[in-house]
């Protein structure tokens, strides 16, 4: 699993990454009450808005950690947004991206680097 400074995680398998938000981000957001997912087939560049997650108080963007095409979204999530809080790095995933530039993966943090980054916040 690799991480961004915007607190997204990705897990790569065969050129496709699963994208979610980290446990830290989920805790910071508080109770998630609404999730808006992208359309399958949408192309995104790294850093583009990918999804929206809303807590009782606020709306936040989830950014595409890497460039690619949305090939699948977590259709269970809109009906059970609390999964983002209960299992942020597992069942609470948002979308899967088919990478257009797999080399971008090298720019993301590994677990140790992300932990180190969190300790500076």
């Amino acid at each position: 699993m690799r991480f961004t400074k915007d607190h997204e995680w990705v897990e790569e398998s065969g050129g496709v990454v699963t994208v979610g938000i980290t446990a830290y981000a989920a805790e910071q957001l508080g109770d998630v009450v609404f999730v808006e997912l992208p359309d399958v087939g949408k192309s995104v560049k790294a850093g583009d808005p990918l999804a929206v997650v809303e807590s009782v108080k606020a709306a936040s963007d989830v950014y595409a950690p890497l460039s690619g095409e949305v090939v699948e979204v977590n259709t269970d999530l809109p009906g059970a947004p609390e999964t983002v809080n209960s299992m942020p790095e597992k069942d609470g995933w948002f979308a899967k991206l088919k990478l257009s530039n797999p080399a971008e993966l090298d720019g993301l943090m590994d677990h140790a680097a992300y932990e180190q980054f969190l300790s500076t916040l």
């Binding site: 915007d6 607190h7 997204e8 938000i21 981000a25 910071q28 957001l29 508080g30 109770d31 009450v33 609404f34 808006e36 808005p49 929206v52 997650v53 809303e54 807590s55 009782v56 108080k57 606020a58 709306a59 936040s60 963007d61 989830v62 950014y63 916040l121």
Partner: protein, 399 residues
């Protein structure tokens, strides 16, 4: 606009090192693991570890404790007393009445009234609670509680209105604790038994910790409950004592906001501002009959005209029937798609499990059942005007 996935602008603004004011309970919040934020110049708890959703629902079912010490309690004290309690009350009331729309003179001992501080155009400068104290020795005194973010201006305006005849004594260094919810009476009466005799919008003085607390049966959640003005030295003791009761939990500003939104109560600076009149805000109840008939409050001509039907906008409640919550600033559109107003407060209602909002729309589209829309991230979502409050008030009115 959505923000980055970290401290969202309003409610997760991290506490920086700029000089924020604290309350007598700031250390207690930190000890409870609260996430702190800046609000009205104060460092305040936005939520405790359980989170906004659980805190909100706990308050609706049990008893929530809120630190509202950032607000502005004060006492307007007549300088020269005659000793005739009624005459002294009328004299101090006569100083305040020219800048508000309430019948202050008509308050009975121990009675609280919600009123509005108005500018000369009839716009709302703040909303406040004014109380006539109970004790004989406090006739000729009014207790006035204003909002945190507006208190400096309010205090200056009230002091100016009072001139040399009365002195405005600030009490915002004290603790102000709200206990709200169906079990609030049981929790508080175990410590201060006198409170069980209070009905909604009345106040009493009670002994506590070698001093005196002022307890009112009031609040801003729509639930039965109390607000206790307590000396700073005793605030932490009372807070900790209340928390010993397992029916009581600490509740942050996040849930305070969602509770008051469900209760249809306006928040100054969001649902109310200096351009908005009491009639537009649907706060006509705050305009006392005597003052309305006498037309002797600031901006009376405008307000009387609006009551006669010359109204261009009115605050309404909206159920957002699909999609994301519509937040403050979202456009409200009419049946033909034209923008007719904006959301002034909006979010997710934990009690209803659905998005709700308040905003201003033209009166012809303000009736319950009117089919409107809200624009969220460029998309129109269906919304419907509903009667306020969204969640029924459960105040303990006099039998």
């Amino acid at each position: 606009m959505p923000g980055r996935l970290q401290p969202s602008p309003e409610f997760h603004r991290p506490v920086s090192d700029k000089a924020l004011k604290t309350t007598p309970l700031t250390d207690a919040h930190r000890a409870l693991g609260a996430r702190m934020t800046e609000f009205g110049g104060y460092e305040m708890p936005v939520q405790y570890p359980e989170g906004v959703l659980k805190e909100h629902l706990w308050t609706r079912e049990h008893a929530g404790l809120f630190d509202v010490s950032h607000m502005g309690p004060s006492f307007l004290r007549l300088k020269t007393l005659t000793g005739d309690g009624q005459a002294d009350h009328e004299a101090v009331s006569a100083l305040l009445e020219p800048i508000v729309c309430a019948d202050v003179k008509g308050l009975k001992r121990g009675q609280i009234r919600y009123t509005l501080l108005l500018n000369e155009h009839g716009g709302v400068v703040d909303d406040l609670m004014v109380t006539r104290p109970v004790p004989d020795e406090a006739q000729g005194v009014l207790q006035i509680i204003v909002n945190a973010g507006t208190k400096e201006g309010d205090f200056a305006r009230i002091a100016a209105a009072a001139g040399d005849a009365a002195e405005l004594v600030r009490a915002d260094d004290r603790g102000l604790i709200a206990v709200q919810g169906p079990e609030a009476e049981a929790v508080l009466a175990a410590i201060i038994p006198e409170v069980a005799d209070l009905s909604f919008m009345t106040v009493t003085n009670a002994p506590y910790d070698g001093g005196t607390v002022v307890v009112s049966r009031s609040g801003y959640t729509g639930e039965d409950g109390f607000e206790i003005l307590v000396e700073a030295r005793s605030a932490r003791k009372l807070w900790d004592r209340l928390l010993e009761d397992e029916r009581a939990k600490p509740i942050g500003l996040g849930a305070r906001d969602s509770l008051r939104l469900e209760a249809g109560l306006p928040l100054y600076g969001h649902d109310l501002d200096e351009t908005i009149s009491p009639v537009e805000a649907d706060l006509g109840f705050a305009l006392s009959k005597r003052r309305r008939l006498a037309e002797d409050f600031p901006g009376a001509a405008r307000t009387i005209g609006e009551l006669a039907g010359h109204l261009t906008r009115r605050r309404v409640g909206l159920r957002v029937l699909e999609g994301a919550p519509a937040r403050e600033g979202a456009e409200i559109v009419g049946p033909d798609g034209a923008v007719i107003g904006r959301v002034t407060s909006g979010g997710f209602s934990p009690s209803l499990g659905a998005p709700i909002a308040m905003g201003y729309v033209p009166p012809e589209l303000a009736e319950p059942g009117a089919k409107l829309g809200v624009i969220v991230r460029g998309k129109r979502q269906a919304a419907e005007v509903v009667q306020l409050p969204f969640v029924t008030h459960r105040y303990r009115r006099k039998a």
